[in-house]
Amino acid sequence: MLYRTAGQFKTSYRADHALFPVKQDAWLLGFILLFAVVIFPLTASEFAFRALLTPVLIYALAALGLNILTGYAGQLSLGTGAFMGVGAYACYKLVTLFPEMNLLVAIALSGFFSAAIGVAFGLPSLRIKGFYLAIATLAAQFFLVWLFEKWAWLYNYNSSGAIQVPTISMFGVPVAGPNATAMVQYYVVLAIVALVTVLAINITRGRIGRMWKAVRDMDIAAELVGINPMKAKLSAFAVSSYIVGVAGALFVFLWRGAAEPVAFDIPLSFRVLFIAIIGGLGSILGNYLGAILIVALPVIISALPAAVGLPLSSAMVEHLNTMIIGALIILFLIVEPHGLARFWAIIREKLIMWPFPH
């Protein structure tokens, strides 16, 4: 009933190319943004910011980066964690070498470092595909994490071997480091993630997005419509790694506050890959849905027994949590292998029709 598209006619291609051809979608997004910008910050606790809101956004951004590579351009990568690390270490070096540099500039620049590394490790994709490419990116994963450990210059010869975020202020307000409040960090992350998401939507719906999808669906045919597969694949690696690198910089600077090389090891890569797959490959929205499921649901589930007064030991809660999340992931993938984004698309279709069957 709410989702009526009747009467919404488009009389120009410009109107048809609008971001929200159905105006209910725009309302829905406005509603979500209202929550994200006003209602959550007013009601959320410090814990909710640190454990739920900020990580969901950062993981969604990392998954968005991976999704461009894997979901849109069809190149499987297992090196996401390491590329996030490149962004984080690059940002760390930038802010320590140039302390007067604005943090936002440093984060934006650090993406270029991971983009360059991503393109370098994407070169094998010109020759190999599928699982074999995944193995090549796995090599990047191990090599880069090894580099983060062994190259002491990267962490400024810190005795702990970790990178420690110094206090960084913008306009007199501390945004990173031990003095920053979670709410400020959340707003900065929200702004960056929203901006990158809009840019990613724009890229994927135009010429370049079609080029990527063409290479994904049939690379030979793509070449025969005049698409240069080398350009398509390497540009996907560059854009994807840029976004992943920015997510990595946010991961350390606006959330964790410190990181050891092991933080960027393969479990992080898999985590981001799971988010992208469960959310839905080849979709932008899916990254958010997947991040909510993978990051936020465990937090909510483990907080539940305490909230309803169940006396469970914390170890028990942990075990239950792992089991429930695991079962949910399998269930979602069986019910809808194309991910939560497709799930939503089907619900939306049904809502447009409802209550009539056709």
Binding site: I208, A222, E223, L224
Partner: protein, 271 residues
């Protein structure tokens, strides 16, 4: 014979009709297997040129040579007055050669509209920066090409499947979308690899009409491979016949039909 824009007999007799492509003494082999042996023929502007022959005669290999997928070991190809040698398929597209495939080669996850829009990839120029901004030059370019694509959609009568992912379409429609994608490239030479394969009579009639309309209304030169002899003889202006990688006949359909070598190749001959 129906009244054609370019009269094949006149072409043959007077040498009229500008030369679009000339294939000169091309040979192609894979290891020890000779796919094509010393073949020469030409394609003139505005004609429908059929390449026929029994299975394994080297027809598809010939198309693959023409659009740069294979590089022949011997011989040369002159396209629009320029000799060319080794090249990649996406270079051939830039020169104005488009093709469809025997087994439909569409982008299955994309909608009909996106598939045909992808055919205009070489014509669109806006870089990553403008694409990110979207509003402005990138959107203007998108809309300009959308209008051209919608014309093709109207022409092929596939308005109703504009938003459908092509993987879900029936085979006949997929073939039509593939033709649309090739047309979106606005080629000067259109290569069709068995456009009627696996179609029923009605679909064949539709496809024949589209091919003729493309040739007449858009003035596109067409080279096609087809096994349905009725279709070939009705559609094409001139026919080249291959057998075991060699050219055995070349000429107007009526002449080819009565050629003894062609009859032998198709029906077999007692040795």
């Amino acid at each position: 014979m129906n009244s054609r824009v370019a009269d094949p007999v006149a072409i043959a007799e007077q040498g009229a009709g500008e030369m679009l492509m000339e294939v000169r003494n091309v040979s192609l082999s894979f290891g020890g297997v000779k796919a094509i042996t010393d073949i020469s023929f030409d394609i003139r502007k505005g004609e429908i040129r059929a390449i026929i022959g029994p299975n394994g005669a080297g027809k598809t290999s010939m198309l693959n040579v023409i659009n740069g997928f294979y590089t022949p070991q011997k011989g040369e190809i002159v396209f629009r007055g320029q000799t060319r040698r080794a090249m990649k398929p996406h270079h051939a597209v830039r020169q104005g050669i488009a093709r469809t495939f025997q087994n439909v080669a569409l982008f299955k996850g994309m909608s009909t509209l996106d598939n045909i829009m992808a055919g205009r990839a070489v014509k669109m120029r806006r870089n990553l920066f403008w694409q990110m901004l979207w509003h402005g030059p990138a959107l203007a370019e998108e809309i300009e090409h959308r209008a051209a694509v919608e014309e093709i959609i109207d022409f092929l009568e596939i308005q109703h499947i504009r938003r459908t992912p092509v993987g879900k379409l029936p085979y006949g429609l997929q073939k039509r979308v593939e033709l649309g994608r090739a047309l979106a490239m606005e080629p000067s030479l259109l290569l069709l690899d068995e456009p009627m394969a696996g179609m029923n009579l009605e679909e064949k009639e539709d496809m024949s009409r589209f091919i003729l309309d493309v040739n007449r209304q858009r003035g596109t030169t067409i080279a096609l491979i087809e096994h349905d002899m009725g279709v070939v003889m009705d559609l094409s202006d001139r026919v080249v016949v291959l057998d075991y990688g060699k050219k055995i006949a070349d000429g107007v359909p009526d002449a080819v039909k009565s050629n003894q070598a062609v009859i032998d190749a198709y029906l077999g001959v007692a040795h």
